[in-house]
Protein backbone atom coordinates (compact mmCIF):
# COMPACT_ATOMS: atom_id res chain seq x y z
CA UNK A 1 0.00 0.00 0.00
CA UNK A 2 1.23 3.53 -0.66
CA UNK A 3 2.41 5.67 2.20
CA UNK A 4 0.55 8.78 3.30
CA UNK A 5 0.70 11.51 5.93
CA UNK A 6 -2.23 12.01 8.31
CA UNK A 7 -2.73 14.69 10.94
CA UNK A 8 -3.64 13.66 14.46
CA UNK A 9 -4.47 17.08 15.83
CA UNK A 10 -4.59 19.89 16.65
CA UNK A 11 -8.06 18.80 17.74
CA UNK A 12 -7.94 15.08 18.33
CA UNK A 13 -8.90 12.88 21.31
CA UNK A 14 -5.33 11.58 21.49
CA UNK A 15 -3.56 14.92 21.88
CA UNK A 16 -4.61 16.02 25.41
CA UNK A 17 -3.74 19.55 24.50
CA UNK A 18 -3.37 21.68 21.45
CA UNK A 19 -0.73 20.14 19.22
CA UNK A 20 -0.50 18.16 16.03
CA UNK A 21 1.11 14.79 15.50
CA UNK A 22 1.75 14.24 11.82
CA UNK A 23 2.00 10.53 11.16
CA UNK A 24 3.22 8.85 7.99
CA UNK A 25 1.58 5.48 7.64
CA UNK A 26 1.93 2.48 5.41
CA UNK A 27 -1.37 0.73 5.88
CA UNK A 28 -1.66 0.52 9.66
CA UNK A 29 2.06 0.74 10.37
CA UNK A 30 3.71 4.01 11.41
CA UNK A 31 6.64 4.80 9.11
CA UNK A 32 7.53 8.30 10.27
CA UNK A 33 6.21 10.97 12.64
CA UNK A 34 6.62 14.73 12.83
CA UNK A 35 5.18 16.41 15.94
CA UNK A 36 4.15 20.02 15.43
CA UNK A 37 4.09 22.35 18.42
CA UNK A 38 3.43 26.04 18.83
CA UNK A 39 -0.36 26.13 18.95
CA UNK A 40 -0.14 27.20 22.59
CA UNK A 41 2.99 29.35 22.43
CA UNK A 42 2.24 32.45 24.48
CA UNK A 43 5.73 33.90 24.70
CA UNK A 44 5.97 33.43 28.47
CA UNK A 45 9.75 33.88 28.38
CA UNK A 46 9.35 37.18 26.54
CA UNK A 47 6.54 38.48 28.74
CA UNK A 48 8.64 37.64 31.82
CA UNK A 49 11.26 40.16 30.71
CA UNK A 50 8.66 42.87 31.22
CA UNK A 51 7.37 41.87 34.65
CA UNK A 52 8.56 42.25 38.22
CA UNK A 53 10.05 39.10 39.67
CA UNK A 54 6.96 38.30 41.69
CA UNK A 55 4.62 39.07 38.81
CA UNK A 56 6.23 36.34 36.76
CA UNK A 57 4.88 33.78 39.27
CA UNK A 58 1.44 34.38 37.72
CA UNK A 59 2.82 33.30 34.36
CA UNK A 60 4.43 30.19 35.83
CA UNK A 61 1.00 28.91 36.92
CA UNK A 62 -0.08 29.13 33.30
CA UNK A 63 3.02 27.33 32.05
CA UNK A 64 1.66 23.97 33.10
CA UNK A 65 -1.88 24.20 34.34
CA UNK A 66 -1.86 20.79 36.00
CA UNK A 67 1.47 21.38 37.75
CA UNK A 68 1.43 25.11 38.42
CA UNK A 69 3.05 24.93 41.85
CA UNK A 70 5.95 22.86 40.53
CA UNK A 71 6.68 25.55 37.93
CA UNK A 72 6.38 28.28 40.54
CA UNK A 73 8.91 26.38 42.60
CA UNK A 74 11.26 26.05 39.65
CA UNK A 75 11.11 29.75 38.86
CA UNK A 76 11.37 30.88 42.48
CA UNK A 77 14.51 28.83 43.20
CA UNK A 78 16.23 30.29 40.15
CA UNK A 79 15.21 33.88 40.88
CA UNK A 80 16.29 33.62 44.51
CA UNK A 81 19.71 32.48 43.32
CA UNK A 82 19.85 35.32 40.79
CA UNK A 83 18.84 37.85 43.46
CA UNK A 84 20.99 36.35 46.28
CA UNK A 85 18.03 35.81 48.64
CA UNK A 86 17.74 32.93 51.12
CA UNK A 87 14.25 31.65 52.00
CA UNK A 88 13.51 30.53 55.58
CA UNK A 89 13.49 26.80 56.27
CA UNK A 90 9.75 26.60 56.83
CA UNK A 91 9.15 28.08 53.37
CA UNK A 92 11.36 25.38 51.87
CA UNK A 93 9.29 22.67 53.55
CA UNK A 94 6.07 24.33 52.42
CA UNK A 95 7.39 24.38 48.86
CA UNK A 96 8.26 20.69 49.04
CA UNK A 97 4.74 20.08 50.28
CA UNK A 98 3.34 22.08 47.35
CA UNK A 99 5.45 20.23 44.84
CA UNK A 100 4.53 16.78 46.15
CA UNK A 101 0.82 17.56 46.34
CA UNK A 102 1.16 18.89 42.83
CA UNK A 103 2.83 15.67 41.75
CA UNK A 104 -0.13 13.76 43.17
CA UNK A 105 -2.57 16.05 41.40
CA UNK A 106 -0.69 15.86 38.12
CA UNK A 107 -0.21 12.09 38.19
CA UNK A 108 -3.86 11.45 39.09
CA UNK A 109 -4.86 13.75 36.24
CA UNK A 110 -2.52 11.77 33.96
CA UNK A 111 -4.01 8.49 35.20
CA UNK A 112 -7.54 9.68 34.51
CA UNK A 113 -6.73 10.78 30.98
CA UNK A 114 -4.54 7.78 30.20
CA UNK A 115 -7.08 5.10 31.11
CA UNK A 116 -9.57 6.66 28.72
CA UNK A 117 -6.97 6.39 25.95
CA UNK A 118 -6.90 2.63 26.43
CA UNK A 119 -10.64 2.19 26.67
CA UNK A 120 -11.26 2.03 30.43
CA UNK A 121 -13.80 4.65 31.36
CA UNK A 122 -14.52 3.85 35.01
CA UNK A 123 -11.11 4.78 36.49
CA UNK A 124 -11.47 8.22 34.91
CA UNK A 125 -14.30 9.05 37.27
CA UNK A 126 -12.44 7.67 40.28
CA UNK A 127 -9.34 9.63 39.36
CA UNK A 128 -11.15 12.92 38.91
CA UNK A 129 -12.96 12.42 42.22
CA UNK A 130 -9.68 11.88 44.08
CA UNK A 131 -7.85 14.71 42.37
CA UNK A 132 -10.54 17.05 43.62
CA UNK A 133 -9.51 16.28 47.19
CA UNK A 134 -6.00 17.50 46.40
CA UNK A 135 -7.44 20.62 44.76
CA UNK A 136 -9.56 21.22 47.88
CA UNK A 137 -6.37 21.25 49.94
CA UNK A 138 -4.77 23.72 47.52
CA UNK A 139 -7.82 25.91 47.76
CA UNK A 140 -7.70 25.92 51.54
CA UNK A 141 -4.21 27.41 51.74
CA UNK A 142 -3.64 29.20 48.43
CA UNK A 143 -7.20 30.27 47.73
CA UNK A 144 -7.23 28.77 44.23
CA UNK A 145 -7.75 25.39 42.64
CA UNK A 146 -5.64 25.89 39.55
CA UNK A 147 -3.65 29.12 39.28
CA UNK A 148 -2.27 29.48 42.77
CA UNK A 149 0.22 32.39 42.82
CA UNK A 150 1.41 31.07 46.15
CA UNK A 151 5.18 31.36 46.09
CA UNK A 152 7.13 34.57 46.39
CA UNK A 153 10.77 35.48 45.99
CA UNK A 154 12.05 34.98 49.53
CA UNK A 155 9.38 32.56 50.75
CA UNK A 156 5.71 31.80 50.30
CA UNK A 157 2.70 34.12 50.49
CA UNK A 158 1.08 32.80 53.66
CA UNK A 159 1.29 30.04 56.21
CA UNK A 160 -1.12 27.14 56.47
CA UNK A 161 -4.62 27.63 57.91
CA UNK A 162 -5.43 25.98 61.28
CA UNK A 163 -6.18 22.27 61.05
CA UNK A 164 -4.66 21.95 57.59
CA UNK A 165 -2.14 19.23 58.38
CA UNK A 166 -4.80 16.96 59.87
CA UNK A 167 -7.05 17.42 56.85
CA UNK A 168 -4.10 16.72 54.58
CA UNK A 169 -3.29 13.50 56.45
CA UNK A 170 -6.88 12.33 56.04
CA UNK A 171 -6.63 12.93 52.29
CA UNK A 172 -3.31 11.07 52.12
CA UNK A 173 -4.77 8.05 53.93
CA UNK A 174 -7.71 8.05 51.52
CA UNK A 175 -5.45 8.33 48.48
CA UNK A 176 -3.11 5.55 49.62
CA UNK A 177 -6.06 3.14 49.73
CA UNK A 178 -7.28 4.36 46.33
CA UNK A 179 -3.95 3.64 44.59
CA UNK A 180 -4.46 -0.07 45.24
CA UNK A 181 -7.93 0.27 43.74
CA UNK A 182 -6.47 1.93 40.66
CA UNK A 183 -4.08 -0.96 40.23
CA UNK A 184 -6.91 -3.49 40.45
CA UNK A 185 -8.89 -1.59 37.83
CA UNK A 186 -5.99 -1.36 35.38
CA UNK A 187 -3.39 -4.09 36.01
CA UNK A 188 -6.23 -6.54 36.68
CA UNK A 189 -7.74 -5.83 33.29
CA UNK A 190 -6.84 -7.83 30.18
CA UNK A 191 -7.59 -4.81 28.01
CA UNK A 192 -4.89 -2.85 29.82
CA UNK A 193 -2.19 -5.46 29.25
CA UNK A 194 -3.18 -6.09 25.64
CA UNK A 195 -2.94 -2.40 24.87
CA UNK A 196 0.12 -1.48 26.95
CA UNK A 197 2.62 -4.31 27.29
CA UNK A 198 5.69 -4.11 25.04
CA UNK A 199 4.46 -0.93 23.43
CA UNK A 200 6.29 2.34 22.82
CA UNK A 201 9.60 0.92 23.94
CA UNK A 202 12.35 3.49 24.45
CA UNK A 203 15.54 1.99 25.87
CA UNK A 204 17.81 3.82 28.29
CA UNK A 205 20.44 4.78 25.68
CA UNK A 206 17.84 6.32 23.38
CA UNK A 207 16.24 8.14 26.31
CA UNK A 208 19.53 9.74 27.26
CA UNK A 209 20.54 10.60 23.69
CA UNK A 210 17.22 12.30 23.02
CA UNK A 211 17.00 14.11 26.34
CA UNK A 212 14.03 12.13 27.62
CA UNK A 213 13.64 12.41 31.42
CA UNK A 214 11.17 11.75 34.18
CA UNK A 215 9.03 8.62 34.48
CA UNK A 216 9.91 7.63 30.88
CA UNK A 217 13.59 7.47 31.72
CA UNK A 218 13.04 5.77 35.07
CA UNK A 219 10.87 3.10 33.43
CA UNK A 220 13.88 2.26 31.24
CA UNK A 221 15.97 1.27 34.23
CA UNK A 222 17.81 4.56 34.86
CA UNK A 223 17.01 5.75 38.37
CA UNK A 224 17.66 9.43 37.76
CA UNK A 225 15.67 11.69 40.02
CA UNK A 226 16.87 15.24 40.67
CA UNK A 227 15.29 15.19 44.11
CA UNK A 228 17.90 12.55 45.03
CA UNK A 229 20.78 13.34 42.64
CA UNK A 230 20.86 17.08 43.15
CA UNK A 231 18.63 17.83 46.14
CA UNK A 232 16.98 21.24 46.28
CA UNK A 233 14.73 22.90 48.88
CA UNK A 234 14.21 20.39 51.73
CA UNK A 235 14.51 17.20 49.68
CA UNK A 236 17.81 16.29 51.34
CA UNK A 237 15.95 16.11 54.66
CA UNK A 238 13.17 13.68 53.68
CA UNK A 239 13.33 9.96 53.02
CA UNK A 240 11.95 8.36 49.89
CA UNK A 241 12.87 5.83 47.22
CA UNK A 242 13.19 6.52 43.52
CA UNK A 243 10.57 4.59 41.57
CA UNK A 244 11.85 2.49 38.72
CA UNK A 245 11.00 -0.22 36.20
CA UNK A 246 12.95 -2.10 33.53
CA UNK A 247 10.42 -2.77 30.79
CA UNK A 248 10.80 0.67 29.12
CA UNK A 249 7.26 0.31 27.75
CA UNK A 250 3.87 1.86 28.47
CA UNK A 251 3.18 -0.50 31.38
CA UNK A 252 6.55 0.41 32.88
CA UNK A 253 5.69 4.10 32.79
CA UNK A 254 2.37 3.35 34.47
CA UNK A 255 4.10 1.41 37.24
CA UNK A 256 6.67 4.16 37.80
CA UNK A 257 4.02 6.85 38.14
CA UNK A 258 1.92 4.77 40.53
CA UNK A 259 4.97 4.11 42.70
CA UNK A 260 5.91 7.80 42.57
CA UNK A 261 2.51 8.73 43.97
CA UNK A 262 3.04 6.34 46.89
CA UNK A 263 6.47 7.87 47.50
CA UNK A 264 4.95 11.35 47.34
CA UNK A 265 2.56 10.37 50.10
CA UNK A 266 5.55 9.13 52.11
CA UNK A 267 7.37 12.45 51.63
CA UNK A 268 4.24 14.44 52.46
CA UNK A 269 3.71 12.62 55.76
CA UNK A 270 7.24 13.54 56.85
CA UNK A 271 6.83 17.13 55.68
CA UNK A 272 3.49 17.56 57.45
CA UNK A 273 5.01 16.24 60.69
CA UNK A 274 7.90 18.69 60.35
CA UNK A 275 5.52 21.60 59.69
CA UNK A 276 3.54 20.72 62.83
CA UNK A 277 6.67 20.72 64.98
CA UNK A 278 8.40 23.80 63.55
CA UNK A 279 6.39 27.01 63.40
CA UNK A 280 8.28 30.01 62.08
CA UNK A 281 8.44 32.73 59.46
CA UNK A 282 7.56 31.86 55.87
CA UNK A 283 9.18 34.92 54.31
CA UNK A 284 12.80 36.09 54.30
CA UNK A 285 13.31 38.89 56.81
CA UNK A 286 15.14 41.33 54.60
CA UNK A 287 13.86 41.85 51.13
CA UNK A 288 14.20 44.84 48.85
CA UNK A 289 10.93 46.76 48.84
CA UNK A 290 10.75 46.76 45.03
CA UNK A 291 10.16 43.04 45.10
CA UNK A 292 6.70 44.01 46.25
CA UNK A 293 6.37 41.09 48.65
CA UNK A 294 3.02 41.96 50.26
CA UNK A 295 3.54 40.32 53.62
CA UNK A 296 7.28 40.79 53.98
CA UNK A 297 8.91 43.34 56.24
CA UNK A 298 10.81 45.96 54.28
CA UNK A 299 14.57 45.52 54.15
CA UNK A 300 16.86 47.74 56.17
CA UNK A 301 18.25 49.44 53.09
CA UNK A 302 14.76 49.68 51.71
CA UNK A 303 14.41 51.21 48.33
CA UNK A 304 18.13 51.90 47.89
CA UNK A 305 18.58 48.28 46.92
CA UNK A 306 16.73 48.95 43.73
CA UNK A 307 19.66 50.79 42.22
CA UNK A 308 22.49 48.96 43.93
CA UNK A 309 21.29 45.42 43.70
CA UNK A 310 24.00 42.97 42.68
CA UNK A 311 23.70 41.23 39.34
CA UNK A 312 23.57 37.50 39.12
CA UNK A 313 22.54 34.39 37.28
CA UNK A 314 20.16 31.86 38.79
CA UNK A 315 19.84 28.29 37.63
CA UNK A 316 17.47 25.71 38.98
CA UNK A 317 16.60 22.22 37.93
CA UNK A 318 13.77 20.33 39.57
CA UNK A 319 12.06 16.98 39.18
CA UNK A 320 8.75 18.23 37.89
CA UNK A 321 5.93 15.62 37.56
CA UNK A 322 6.85 15.17 33.88
CA UNK A 323 10.64 15.11 34.29
CA UNK A 324 13.60 17.44 34.46
CA UNK A 325 12.52 21.09 34.29
CA UNK A 326 15.05 23.91 34.26
CA UNK A 327 15.09 27.65 34.61
CA UNK A 328 18.00 29.94 33.77
CA UNK A 329 17.42 33.49 34.92
CA UNK A 330 19.72 36.44 34.24
CA UNK A 331 19.46 39.36 36.67
CA UNK A 332 21.08 42.48 35.27
CA UNK A 333 20.24 44.61 38.30
CA UNK A 334 16.83 45.91 37.32
CA UNK A 335 13.35 45.23 38.65
CA UNK A 336 12.70 42.77 35.84
CA UNK A 337 14.66 39.67 34.91
CA UNK A 338 16.83 40.28 31.85
CA UNK A 339 16.25 36.82 30.47
CA UNK A 340 14.14 33.90 31.66
CA UNK A 341 14.83 30.63 29.90
CA UNK A 342 12.62 27.71 30.77
CA UNK A 343 13.25 24.15 29.74
CA UNK A 344 10.29 21.83 29.77
CA UNK A 345 10.67 18.06 30.11
CA UNK A 346 7.63 17.49 27.89
CA UNK A 347 9.32 19.42 25.07
CA UNK A 348 12.21 16.94 25.04
CA UNK A 349 9.97 13.92 25.58
CA UNK A 350 7.83 14.81 22.54
CA UNK A 351 10.91 15.57 20.43
CA UNK A 352 11.87 11.90 20.70
CA UNK A 353 8.48 10.77 19.32
CA UNK A 354 10.04 9.21 16.24
CA UNK A 355 12.05 6.87 18.46
CA UNK A 356 9.12 5.39 20.34
CA UNK A 357 6.36 5.50 17.69
CA UNK A 358 7.84 4.24 14.41
CA UNK A 359 7.10 0.58 13.77
CA UNK A 360 3.92 0.46 15.85
CA UNK A 361 0.34 0.68 14.60
CA UNK A 362 -1.91 3.70 14.36
CA UNK A 363 -4.14 2.29 17.12
CA UNK A 364 -1.08 2.19 19.42
CA UNK A 365 -0.58 5.95 19.27
CA UNK A 366 -3.12 6.91 21.99
CA UNK A 367 -1.68 4.60 24.68
CA UNK A 368 1.91 5.47 23.78
CA UNK A 369 1.38 9.23 23.72
CA UNK A 370 -0.79 8.91 26.82
CA UNK A 371 2.09 7.26 28.65
CA UNK A 372 4.34 10.21 27.74
CA UNK A 373 2.05 12.51 29.77
CA UNK A 374 1.95 15.42 27.38
CA UNK A 375 1.29 18.90 28.73
CA UNK A 376 1.38 21.37 25.87
CA UNK A 377 1.19 24.42 28.11
CA UNK A 378 4.70 23.78 29.37
CA UNK A 379 6.24 22.49 26.16
CA UNK A 380 5.10 25.53 24.14
CA UNK A 381 5.43 28.06 26.98
Amino acid sequence: MSEMWINMGPQHPMTHGLWNLRVKIDGEVIVDVDPELGYLHRGIEKISEDRHYNEVVTLMDRTCYVAGLAWEHLYIIASEKALHIEPPERAEYLRVMCEEFQRLGSHIMWFSAFVVDIGLLTPLLYGMRDRDLVLDLFQSYTGARMTYEYMRVGGVRNDLPPGFTDRARTVLDWLMARFDEYDKLTLGSDIFHKRCDNLGILKANDCIAHGVTGPMLRSAGVKRDLRKDRPYAAYDRVEFDVAGADSADVTGRYLVRMEEMRQSVRILRQVLDWLDRNPGPVMARELPRWLGAPYAPVGREGYLLKRNYPKGVGFSSIEEPHGEAQAYIVNEGGEHPYRVKLKSPVFSNISAARQYLVGYRVADIPPIMGSVDVCIGESDR
Binding site: L37, G38, E45, G211, R230, S316, Q326, Y328, R339, K343
Partner: protein, 157 residues
Protein backbone atom coordinates in the same frame (compact mmCIF):
# COMPACT_ATOMS: atom_id res chain seq x y z
CA UNK B 1 35.02 17.19 38.06
CA UNK B 2 36.14 20.67 39.07
CA UNK B 3 37.07 23.56 36.79
CA UNK B 4 40.81 22.81 36.91
CA UNK B 5 40.41 19.13 36.02
CA UNK B 6 37.99 20.05 33.27
CA UNK B 7 40.42 22.56 31.81
CA UNK B 8 43.20 19.97 31.85
CA UNK B 9 40.95 17.44 30.12
CA UNK B 10 39.67 19.82 27.45
CA UNK B 11 42.74 21.95 26.68
CA UNK B 12 44.66 19.40 24.53
CA UNK B 13 41.76 18.82 22.14
CA UNK B 14 40.66 22.41 21.87
CA UNK B 15 43.77 24.56 21.99
CA UNK B 16 42.99 28.23 21.39
CA UNK B 17 39.25 27.58 21.03
CA UNK B 18 38.98 27.15 24.79
CA UNK B 19 38.56 30.63 26.25
CA UNK B 20 38.28 29.64 29.89
CA UNK B 21 36.91 27.26 32.49
CA UNK B 22 35.60 28.99 35.58
CA UNK B 23 33.55 28.09 38.67
CA UNK B 24 29.85 28.89 38.33
CA UNK B 25 27.09 28.51 40.90
CA UNK B 26 24.90 25.50 40.32
CA UNK B 27 27.31 23.93 37.84
CA UNK B 28 30.51 21.91 37.94
CA UNK B 29 32.01 24.69 35.83
CA UNK B 30 31.30 27.12 33.05
CA UNK B 31 33.28 26.34 29.91
CA UNK B 32 33.66 29.32 27.58
CA UNK B 33 34.74 28.54 24.05
CA UNK B 34 35.07 30.05 20.60
CA UNK B 35 32.65 28.81 17.96
CA UNK B 36 35.50 27.62 15.70
CA UNK B 37 36.09 24.73 18.09
CA UNK B 38 32.45 23.94 18.81
CA UNK B 39 32.30 20.40 17.42
CA UNK B 40 35.58 19.38 19.06
CA UNK B 41 34.34 20.77 22.35
CA UNK B 42 30.98 18.97 22.15
CA UNK B 43 32.74 15.67 21.39
CA UNK B 44 35.26 16.16 24.19
CA UNK B 45 32.59 17.13 26.75
CA UNK B 46 30.40 14.20 25.68
CA UNK B 47 33.40 11.91 25.98
CA UNK B 48 33.85 12.98 29.61
CA UNK B 49 30.52 11.37 30.51
CA UNK B 50 28.18 14.31 29.91
CA UNK B 51 25.83 12.18 27.85
CA UNK B 52 22.63 14.13 28.55
CA UNK B 53 22.06 17.54 26.98
CA UNK B 54 19.38 19.31 29.00
CA UNK B 55 18.94 22.49 27.06
CA UNK B 56 20.27 24.97 24.56
CA UNK B 57 19.48 28.63 25.11
CA UNK B 58 20.36 31.94 23.56
CA UNK B 59 20.72 35.33 25.21
CA UNK B 60 20.69 38.60 23.32
CA UNK B 61 23.21 40.94 24.95
CA UNK B 62 22.52 43.57 22.25
CA UNK B 63 26.21 44.02 21.33
CA UNK B 64 26.65 40.26 21.00
CA UNK B 65 24.73 37.05 21.53
CA UNK B 66 25.49 34.18 23.84
CA UNK B 67 24.59 30.58 23.21
CA UNK B 68 24.40 28.23 26.22
CA UNK B 69 24.43 24.47 26.47
CA UNK B 70 23.65 22.70 29.74
CA UNK B 71 24.86 19.12 29.96
CA UNK B 72 24.49 16.55 32.73
CA UNK B 73 26.81 13.78 33.80
CA UNK B 74 25.16 10.80 35.46
CA UNK B 75 28.41 9.65 37.04
CA UNK B 76 29.31 13.01 38.59
CA UNK B 77 25.66 14.02 39.15
CA UNK B 78 26.53 17.52 38.04
CA UNK B 79 25.58 19.97 35.34
CA UNK B 80 28.18 21.72 33.21
CA UNK B 81 27.52 24.97 31.41
CA UNK B 82 29.05 25.56 27.98
CA UNK B 83 28.83 29.03 26.54
CA UNK B 84 30.08 30.82 23.45
CA UNK B 85 29.82 34.47 22.47
CA UNK B 86 28.67 35.15 18.94
CA UNK B 87 28.84 38.48 17.06
CA UNK B 88 25.43 40.14 16.75
CA UNK B 89 25.78 40.74 13.03
CA UNK B 90 26.68 37.14 12.18
CA UNK B 91 25.35 34.83 14.89
CA UNK B 92 25.94 31.27 13.81
CA UNK B 93 27.57 28.18 15.34
CA UNK B 94 27.95 24.52 14.43
CA UNK B 95 25.05 22.30 15.50
CA UNK B 96 25.39 20.05 18.53
CA UNK B 97 22.73 17.64 17.28
CA UNK B 98 25.35 15.32 15.79
CA UNK B 99 26.73 14.71 19.28
CA UNK B 100 23.54 15.03 21.34
CA UNK B 101 20.41 14.28 19.22
CA UNK B 102 18.35 16.06 21.88
CA UNK B 103 19.85 19.38 20.72
CA UNK B 104 17.71 19.20 17.57
CA UNK B 105 14.55 20.84 18.89
CA UNK B 106 16.33 23.15 21.34
CA UNK B 107 18.36 24.56 18.46
CA UNK B 108 15.27 25.00 16.32
CA UNK B 109 13.72 26.98 19.15
CA UNK B 110 16.84 29.07 19.74
CA UNK B 111 17.07 29.80 16.01
CA UNK B 112 13.51 31.02 15.68
CA UNK B 113 13.36 33.00 18.93
CA UNK B 114 16.89 34.38 19.40
CA UNK B 115 18.04 34.29 15.76
CA UNK B 116 21.13 32.14 16.22
CA UNK B 117 21.76 29.94 13.18
CA UNK B 118 23.03 26.41 13.72
CA UNK B 119 25.15 25.30 10.77
CA UNK B 120 24.57 21.81 9.36
CA UNK B 121 21.45 21.37 11.49
CA UNK B 122 19.46 18.47 9.99
CA UNK B 123 16.07 20.17 10.17
CA UNK B 124 16.17 23.90 10.94
CA UNK B 125 12.45 24.75 10.67
CA UNK B 126 10.06 26.85 12.73
CA UNK B 127 8.86 25.00 15.80
CA UNK B 128 6.89 27.31 18.10
CA UNK B 129 6.16 30.11 15.64
CA UNK B 130 4.35 29.74 12.29
CA UNK B 131 6.26 28.96 9.10
CA UNK B 132 7.40 32.21 7.54
CA UNK B 133 7.17 34.20 10.78
CA UNK B 134 9.71 36.97 10.33
CA UNK B 135 10.13 38.22 13.90
CA UNK B 136 12.66 36.98 16.39
CA UNK B 137 10.70 37.60 19.60
CA UNK B 138 13.42 37.04 22.19
CA UNK B 139 15.69 39.72 20.76
CA UNK B 140 15.81 42.86 22.89
CA UNK B 141 14.85 44.91 19.84
CA UNK B 142 11.43 43.16 19.79
CA UNK B 143 9.24 45.32 22.05
CA UNK B 144 5.97 43.99 23.38
CA UNK B 145 4.45 47.30 24.47
CA UNK B 146 4.01 48.93 21.08
CA UNK B 147 1.02 47.15 19.59
CA UNK B 148 0.95 49.31 16.45
CA UNK B 149 4.29 47.82 15.44
CA UNK B 150 3.09 44.31 15.91
CA UNK B 151 1.40 43.81 12.60
CA UNK B 152 2.00 40.14 12.07
CA UNK B 153 3.86 39.41 8.88
CA UNK B 154 3.26 35.83 7.90
CA UNK B 155 4.47 34.67 4.54
CA UNK B 156 2.13 31.96 3.34
CA UNK B 157 4.05 28.89 2.32
Amino acid sequence: MGPEELRAALAPALGPSLVGVEPFEGFAARVRFRREGATELFRAVHGLGNTHLSMVAGIDWVDHREVLYIVWSDAAKQYTLLSADLPADDPHIETASGVWPSANWHERETWELVDITFDHHPDLRHLLTPDGYEFRPLLRSFKIHEPEELEVKVRHV
